[in-house]
Symmetry: C2
Subunit: 353 residues, 2 copies
């Protein structure tokens, strides 16, 4: 190792984001982006903000954006934290709530960034197994943990935990901080946002990257009681006071206010998801029940790695994780109807060979 | 303290950014923003990028932007790291290069974010004193430090360290990583960028916020040999893989390519700075020799805190730090000629009372 590197880098295996091909020739179903563009109101707001005022720092506290999010969820602005994508919000939450003296837990099959954050900040953790059917057993979190984090719907399975189970977990463990990562919740799962007012140990994290078509703009947020938000603010102001730029704040405000567009596009994606799942099943795939903008599918006779490669050769990108327990699955983002028909056609062709 | 907060928050006093008033009635000389708007080419590039592609993640490695910065400085893209403002670049550098087992040093009077980063990541540090004339004695860094960080020009003094002294520091301490924070270097100081190819222990950090009028867009960068950049990449991909959004990347590329606009505006600011310094001296102020887009000024007969308040009452915002050694100074950002005339007029009026 380079002598100038920090010792903490010895123990880190960084997260590997999905491939972002530079040529536009691919049907891109690999990073759970939204196939529909952002609301026209978002583009108008950004264009309006792209003026001389860019010479000035953004609002450090994102007051207007926090107000808009608070209004949408029926919460107070003091219960909202905004960051540069939900990955940043999660990273700051690990710093704000967990330290090397603590132990935390998350599912062994889940968003693969969680163990990376924990390693970076030297936070001990247990990766608890899912059940054989890939459902989450909330009693796996019964141990002496300072914190629990899980994605709902889970990634990469797409499977959602019913809200009643989320609430029982939060209610039964008042000594634990529970972080529910709801990056995909808008595609049919039940959000825990409505529980925030009642539970001081609940933090809900969401993003504008998926259901609001703004992966390119980088906005994530957390909902929690004011004392939790204060901890996130303290971390932010010890790391980077101005994380969300002027254009992102302006665009995000427009996005959360355009409810009609949001409902239309997410409904369309959910409909396409159900049709895609049916099509995959007709081709012999096992498809986990998804409440996300992707499906997780496995074919009993074909290696997922081989299918991934064959699709890639046909210029269709999906995501394959070479990890125990999920290495026979493909994670397939829901695109437009045309894109999903192209995927199903390509798979049919590959399976016939 | 809230029971859910991490223990590390017990020891943190977050950075306090300069006031960002929401009403536009102030002459704003308090956060070292550029008085001139960004280049028209920047606004055009942002408008062009504010389209349907915002649904897609940005280039995680910022390849095109790194290429443009590399070309500007005569370096290779592998020697460039880009982040969400230079504050984020600095925070990631603290994580990448220093750990709780190390000890680092920085000047006691300098950018007040350095001790905050160190506290957040539990990195022991010494804050070494400046000389009585506010110059930096590089031999103050002779101790057994793993890392050294200083701003050049220094903040809030504005005073620059000659490049020959920066080089001797880097050359004489090959065992130490030296971070030179050049946020203000474009306003007349000598950059260490040209030393990067020769010294594996040098990291130069710069920003688009000041000399390129883009505080509102959040882009900072680091220049260093590839092995240092790899460490920053490892941290970034363990914290937030997509820190710089699509619009920021597009705007920054246009900014660094518009050399003519950059030269015009920075030269104008340097000329205004010299006139402002002369005007302040004529009013009896002591003005430290500045190579930044601000001056640091003290009046022998008046309390700086009182001057700050009197200016604020006249709707002119400057920065006052209630800290030992500098609590008799005002830090005054260089605005337009008209703004600086208004400042000098207001000070003359205040001093006559």
């Amino acid at each position: 190792m380079n002598p100038y590197w920090s010792k903490r880098l010895q123990h880190i295996v960084p997260y590997v984001p999905g491939e972002q091909p530079k040529d536009g020739a691919y049907i891109k179903l690999n990073t759970n982006e939204n196939p529909y563009p952002p609301s026209p109101a978002v583009l108008a707001a950004i264009t309006a903000a792209a003026g001389t005022q860019l010479r000035l720092y953004p609002e450090p506290e994102c007051d207007a954006l926090r107000g808009a999010i608070a209004e949408y969820y029926g919460l107070a602005p003091q219960q909202i934290f905004v960051g540069n994508g939900s990955d940043e919000v999660l990273a700051m939450a690990f710093l704000a709530f967990f330290s090397p003296e603590d132990r935390i837990a998350f599912p062994a099959i889940s968003y693969s960034f969680y163990p990376v954050y924990a390693d970076l900040f030297a936070i001990p953790y247990d990766a608890v197994p899912l059940r054989e059917d890939y459902t989450l057993n909330v009693h796996a979190f019964d141990g002496a943990y300072k914190g629990i984090i899980f994605a709902n719907p889970n990634a990469p399975t797409g499977m959602a935990l019913p809200l009643v189970q989320v609430e029982s977990l939060v209610a039964e463990h008042p000594e634990k901080l529970v972080i529910v990562d709801e990056a995909y919740v808008d595609f049919g799962a039940e959000s825990a946002a409505g529980l925030v007012a009642r539970y001081p140990n609940l933090l809900v994290v969401q993003t504008f990257s998926k259901s609001r078509s703004l992966a390119g703009l980088r906005i994530g947020f957390a909902l929690g009681q004011a004392s939790l938000i204060q901890a996130l603010d303290a971390v932010k102001n010890s790391f980077n006071s101005y994380t969300v730029d002027r254009l992102a704040q302006a665009g995000a405000i427009a996005a959360i206010k355009d409810c009609t567009y949001f409902e239309q596009t997410r409904n369309r994606i959910m409909e396409t998801r159900e049709r895609t799942a049916d099509g995959l099943k007709a081709l012999g795939f096992t498809v986990l029940p998804s409440k996300a903008n992707f499906v997780f599918a496995s074919h009993p006779q074909r290696s997922a790695a081989a299918l991934f490669t064959a699709l890639r050769q046909r210029k269709i990108l999906v995501r394959y994780f070479d990890k125990p327990g999920i290495d026979q699955f493909l994670r397939i983002t829901i695109g437009t109807d045309d894109e999903m028909e192209a995927l199903l056609g390509a798979l049919q062709e590959i399976l016939q060979n």
